[in-house]
Amino acid sequence: MRGLKKCAFKLCWGIFILLVVTFFLLPLLWLITAPFDAKATLRVAIPSKFTLANFQAIFRNTFAVRALFLNSIVIAGGTMLGVTLFATLAAYAIARLNIPGRDILAYLLVLFSSVVQGTAAMVPIFILLFHLKLIDTYPGVIFVLIGGLLPTGIFLMRDFVAGVPKSYEESALVSGARPWQVLRDVVLPVLRPGMMVLAVWSFVQAWGDFLISLIVMRSPAKMPAPIAIYSFYTEGGTPVLTLVSAYSLIYALPVVFLYLFVNWRYGFRFFGGIKGGGR
C-alpha cells in the first residue's frame, strides 16, 4: 500500500512539473520561431520559409541596432552599477548604524518609489532634469532609474546583509584586521551573491525601461531599444511581425545571457532572510 501511495505521489509530482514546464515554455516559443520565418504570423510553426532575412533587415536599421547594442547597454549597465553599489552600501550602513525605525522607513521608501515610477511623476522629473541640464543625456536617464530602483534595491539587499554575522566581523577585528580589510575579506564575499542578484534585477529593470527614456532622450542616437522597436512599425502604427519578432529576440538575449552567467558563477538565489516585521 505504501509503495502505491508513493507511486501516486511521484506521479502527481511529475504531472505538476510537466504542467509547470509547459506553462513557462509555451509562450516563449513564438519568440524562437517567428524571427526565422519570412512570413511570420502570430502562429507558432516551424518556419515554412526559414530565413535569416529578418535579421538582415534589422541590422540595416542602424538607428535600432545602435539603440540596442549601445544605448540600452549603457543605460542598463550604468543603472546596474549605481543601484548595486549604492544599495549595498546603504543597506549595510542601515543595518550597522542601528537607525531607528529603519524597517518602516524601508517599506515607506518602497511605497513612494511606486508613485514616482508611474506616469504621474513624469513632469517634475522632466523639469528637474532640465534644470540640471541632463535632458538627452545618458546620466539623465540613469540617475532617474537609480533613484526609482534604490528603495526596492535596498529592501532586497537587507536580506543578504542579514546573512553577515557581526560576530565574524568582530572576531576578525580582534585578530588584528583593519576595518577596510574586514569589509573586503569578511563582508564582501558573503554579500557578493546578493549583489549579483541585485545587479541582474536592476539591469533587467533598466533594460526594459520605456517611459523614462522617452521623457529624457531626444537624439535618435541615444534612444534605447524599447523605443527603437517602434521604428519597425508601419506608418499606421501596426507592427511588422517579421521585424518586430526578430528584434524582440535579439533584445531578449542579453538579459538571458546575464542571468545564465550569474547563475552559473554565483548561483542566482535569495538568502532567505527576508522576513516581514522587526528583526
Binding site: 522617452l214 521623457i215 517602434y230 521604428s231 501596426t238
Partner: protein, 460 residues
C-alpha cells in the same frame, strides 16, 4: 613698436573676421520618421534632397548653415508627449512635424505661436503663399492665424474589392463599370447581397471604437455623421451638437452594420491591434468594403509595403461615401468626405527664426514639393504641385476635394473626438442603445465645453 601694434591689430582683425565667418547656424528638424522604417519617404526627401540644396543655397548667400533631421521612431502619441514637455521648458528642434489638430490645445497653453509672431510680418513676403489656398492654410491654422505648412491633405473613400464584386455579380466581369452607391440604403443593400452570396467575406468594415483613435473619428464617425446633414460642430453658432436626430441616425447606421445584421465584424474594431488585421483581411480578399483615407491606397497597399497587393489597380477600386440620401448630406451634398493633414510648424523657442523659416519656405517651394511627389505622390498643399505618377490619387483628389470639410480646430476637440469614438464603441459592442450612447455623449460634452456650448435637438 609700430610693427608690433600693427601685428596685434592684424591678428585681432583676422580673429574677429574668422569668428564672424565661422559662425555656423545649426538647424534641427524633427518628425515621426525613421529611415528604413516608419515614414521613411519623409526622411529620404529631407535628407537627400531638401537639406543639401538648402545648404548650397544658403552658402551662395554667404551663410554657413548645417541642418540635421532628428529621427523619432516611437508612436505619434509619444512624440506629442515629448513636444509638450520640450515646449514647456523652452527647448526642442527648430522645426517640428506637427498634426494640425494638436495646435489648438498647444496654443491654449502658450506652447506654440503663429508664424508671423515668430518670424515677423516678412513671413508674408514668401511667394509660395499665392499657391496655397485658404483651405490648405487652415490645416495648420487656428483662429485665423497660420502656424505652419501642411505636407498635404487627404480624403476618405470606400475602398472595395473589384474581384469580389465581380465574383458576386454586382459588377459584370470585364465591363469596366464602377460601383457608386448613392445612398445608405444602396450601400447597405450591397453589403447584404455580398453577405448572402459570399458568406465568408466580411461585407463592410467602417471604423468604430476608441482602439483606432482619431482614425475612427475621421474614417468612421465623420463619414457617417456628415451624411446625415450635420457636422460635429456648428461653425456658425460656435457650439457642439450634443443631441441631434442626425447623431441618432448615424448611430443606428452603426448598429445596423455591426449589431443587427452583422455586416461588419465588431470584434475587429474593439480589440487592441486589430487595425493591422483589417488591412490583412482586405489584402487577402476577406473584407469586401473598407472605408479609409487615401493614405490606405498610397501607403498601405502600395508596392513594397507590408500589405502590398501586387495587382492593386485591377482588384481594388474606390467609391465616394454617399450621404444618407441624395442631398441629405452636410451642406446639402450628395457625397461626403473629410480631410486632415500634418505638416511642420516653427518652434517659438528657436534661436534662428529667420533661417528656420527660410528652410521651411525652401522645403515648400515648388521644386522641392515636386521632388517629394516623385517619391510619394499625394495631394499637396500647393495648387501648382499636382499629383503625378498615380492616376488613382489624382482622380480621388479631383472628385472629392469639392465635398470635403475639416475638423473643428478647437482646444476641446481631442477630448470630444474621443467621446465620439467612445459613443460608437458603446453602440457597436452592444453595451448601450444609440439613445443611451448619445445621452452619455451629450453629458460628457457639457462637462468638457460647458452646457452653454452644447446644442440639444430632440428627435421629433
Amino acid at each position: 613698436m609700430k610693427r608690433i601694434l600693427g601685428l596685434v591689430v592684424l591678428s585681432l582683425a583676422v580673429l574677429l573676421g574668422v569668428n564672424g565667418l565661422a559662425e555656423t547656424i545649426k538647424l534641427t528638424v524633427t518628425a515621426r520618421a525613421v529611415r528604413g522604417g516608419v515614414n521613411t519617404h519623409l526622411v529620404e526627401w529631407l535628407e537627400d534632397h531638401v537639406f543639401p540644396a538648402f545648404v548650397q543655397w544658403m552658402k551662395a548667400q554667404g551663410k554657413d548653415v548645417e541642418v540635421e533631421f532628428i529621427q523619432f521612431g516611437g508612436s505619434d502619441e509619444a512624440l506629442k508627449q515629448q513636444y509638450a514637455l520640450d515646449l514647456k521648458v523652452g527647448r526642442g528642434a527648430d522645426i517640428l512635424g506637427f498634426d494640425g489638430f494638436w495646435i489648438p490645445e498647444f496654443d491654449a497653453a502658450g506652447l506654440v505661436k503663429p508664424l508671423d509672431e515668430i518670424v515677423g510680418s516678412q513671413v508674408w513676403d514668401w511667394d509660395g503663399w499665392a499657391y496655397i489656398p485658404q483651405g490648405m492654410r487652415e490645416i495648420l491654422g487656428y483662429k485665423g492665424k497660420v502656424y505652419g505648412l501642411a505636407l498635404g491633405t487627404d480624403v476618405r473613400v470606400i475602398f472595395y474589392r473589384r474581384d469580389l464584386f465581380e465574383k458576386a455579380g454586382i459588377i459584370p466581369p470585364g465591363s469596366g463599370l464602377r460601383w457608386q452607391p448613392r445612398s445608405w440604403e444602396e450601400l447597405l443593400n450591397t453589403a447584404r447581397y455580398i453577405k448572402k452570396v459570399l458568406p465568408d467575406v466580411v461585407p463592410l468594415q467602417i471604423n468604430a471604437g476608441t482602439e483606432m483613435g482619431e482614425a475612427t473619428t475621421m474614417q468612421g464617425w465623420f463619414m457617417v455623421l456628415l451624411g446625415t446633414g450635420i457636422h460635429m460642430y456648428d461653425f456658425e453658432s460656435g457650439k457642439w451638437y450634443g443631441e441631434h436626430p442626425g447623431i441618432l441616425e448615424a448611430l443606428n447606421f452603426y448598429k445596423t452594420v455591426y449589431v443587427d445584421e452583422k455586416l461588419g465584424d465588431a470584434r475587429l474594431q474593439l480589440i487592441s491591434g486589430a487595425r493591422a488585421r483589417t488591412f490583412e483581411l482586405f489584402r487577402d480578399g476577406k473584407i469586401a468594403m473598407l472605408v479609409e483615407g487615401d493614405w490606405f491606397w498610397r501607403s498601405v497597399l502600395a508596392p513594397g509595403s507590408e500589405w502590398a497587393i501586387p495587382n492593386r489597380n485591377e482588384v481594388v477600386d474606390w467609391a465616394m461615401m454617399p450621404a444618407k440620401e441624395p442631398g441629405a448630406g452636410y451642406r446639402g451634398q450628395n457625397f461626403v468626405t473629410i480631410s486632415g493633414g500634418t505638416g511642420f510648424i516653427l518652434n517659438p523657442n528657436t534661436a534662428h527664426p529667420q533661417e528656420a523659416w527660410a528652410l521651411m519656405a525652401f522645403a515648400f517651394s515648388r521644386e522641392m514639393q515636386l521632388e517629394f511627389q516623385k517619391i510619394q505622390p499625394r495631394i499637396r498643399s500647393r495648387v501648382d504641385v499636382p499629383v503625378v505618377g498615380d492616376p488613382v490619387m489624382s482622380e480621388m483628389a479631383r472628385a472629392l476635394l469639392q465635398y470635403t470639410t475639416v475638423r473643428p480646430m478647437l482646444p476641446g476637440y481631442p477630448k470630444i473626438s474621443y467621446q465620439a469614438q467612445l459613443m460608437t464603441e458603446r453602440v457597436v459592442s452592444g453595451q448601450m442603445t444609440p439613445e443611451e450612447a448619445m445621452a452619455a455623449y451629450a453629458e460628457a460634452l457639457k462637462e468638457i465645453v460647458g452646457p452653454e456650448n452644447v446644442i440639444i435637438v430632440k428627435a421629433r
